[in-house]
Symmetry: C2
């Protein structure tokens, strides 16, 4: 039920479904994603509910576009979502489930290989987020604390993203050392 509010949030500036998808790719991807096949029908539904109004056609050159904007009702719906406090719980992190069961791999080497792959992935994501931060800081002298509200709050989420990835990479390294330091458990003979 969160996507509805995220669309409301994105539509502080009027956009088409296609534009919104690009916005997901560029900015929101780190904590949310949505496919066009989910966005288009939801925009229609939200227009019927009076949260958005859409206007077709006034495109520059390309094919006909449908651009949506928030209505007053949409504004207050978004505000009440935020006012009701943090939406938490039910995070599903598949790779942590895998780590939890790594004992099912036969030897330490496989477990270490797993953790190494995880570290590489997290390090790569960290690098891209750091690059985003560097570029942003270079392009806007107000970065980070003098940014206008609609950029300052997104910047907060970038900060957490970087801190978490940094922490996760460090944790992977720590895991690898700790696994390496352990004695190989003797495999039970017979059954």
């Amino acid at each position: 039920m969160s996507l509805k509010y995220i669309l409301l949030g994105v539509l502080s500036e009027s956009q088409s479904g296609y534009d919104i998808k690009k916005y997901f790719e560029n900015s929101l991807k780190n904590f949310w994603n949505a496919e066009l096949s989910q966005i288009y029908p939801l925009l229609q539904k939200m227009e019927k509910e009076g949260l958005l109004n859409g206007t077709t056609g006034d495109s520059d050159i390309g094919p006909k576009k449908r651009v949506y904007g928030r209505t007053e009702k949409g504004n207050s719906e978004l505000e009440s979502w935020l006012s009701e406090g943090p939406v938490v719980g039910s995070e599903r992190i598949a790779y942590l489930a895998q780590v939890f069961f790594l004992a099912s791999l036969k030897d330490k080497a496989s477990a270490i290989a797993y953790m190494q792959k995880l570290k590489d992935y997290m390090a790569a994501r960290l690098a891209t987020l750091k690059a985003v931060e560097t570029e942003w800081a270079g392009q806007d002298a107000r970065y980070p604390d003098a940014l206008p509200d609609d950029e300052f709050y997104p910047q907060l989420t970038l900060t957490l993203g970087i801190a978490r990835l940094r922490g996760t990479v460090e944790w992977c390294e720590e895991c690898i050392s700790r696994i390496q330091a352990r004695k190989e458990e003797p495999v039970e003979a017979g059954q």
Copy 2:
């Protein structure tokens, strides 16, 4: 598609669906959850696929129980899941989406109130995880690095859980200070 493998992982010791649900509540909840209405049908399906075998009735006293165990095929299915490397991507964190759009709240005070609630929630979760760690360490002298494999790897996930929550609480505090230090933006008159 991960729940299937998580059930395989949990069933290194034979258990009923009901027992598995309790296991989720106690141990896995921090990175995965599943309801009984999801567990029961999936266990049946996995038995039909030959990944599990179930035996009914041999309960102590309570009502008839159906206890499942992993087959050889189930073992290798679990191993190949782990061997294929980390399952990553598509994490959805609703509260980060909310922070991203906090500019839609009219004043700084509301944003600070939001962050404070988030911090309280995270601090409470951190406290429970720390308590788990303290008790575990007190009950087993092998904690943490001399634990047997099937407890050592779960301990690694506990470590990350604690580190992340600690980081998140600190981030919330930092956000509150940074928001407080900002000048209140003048609301545009008229529009």
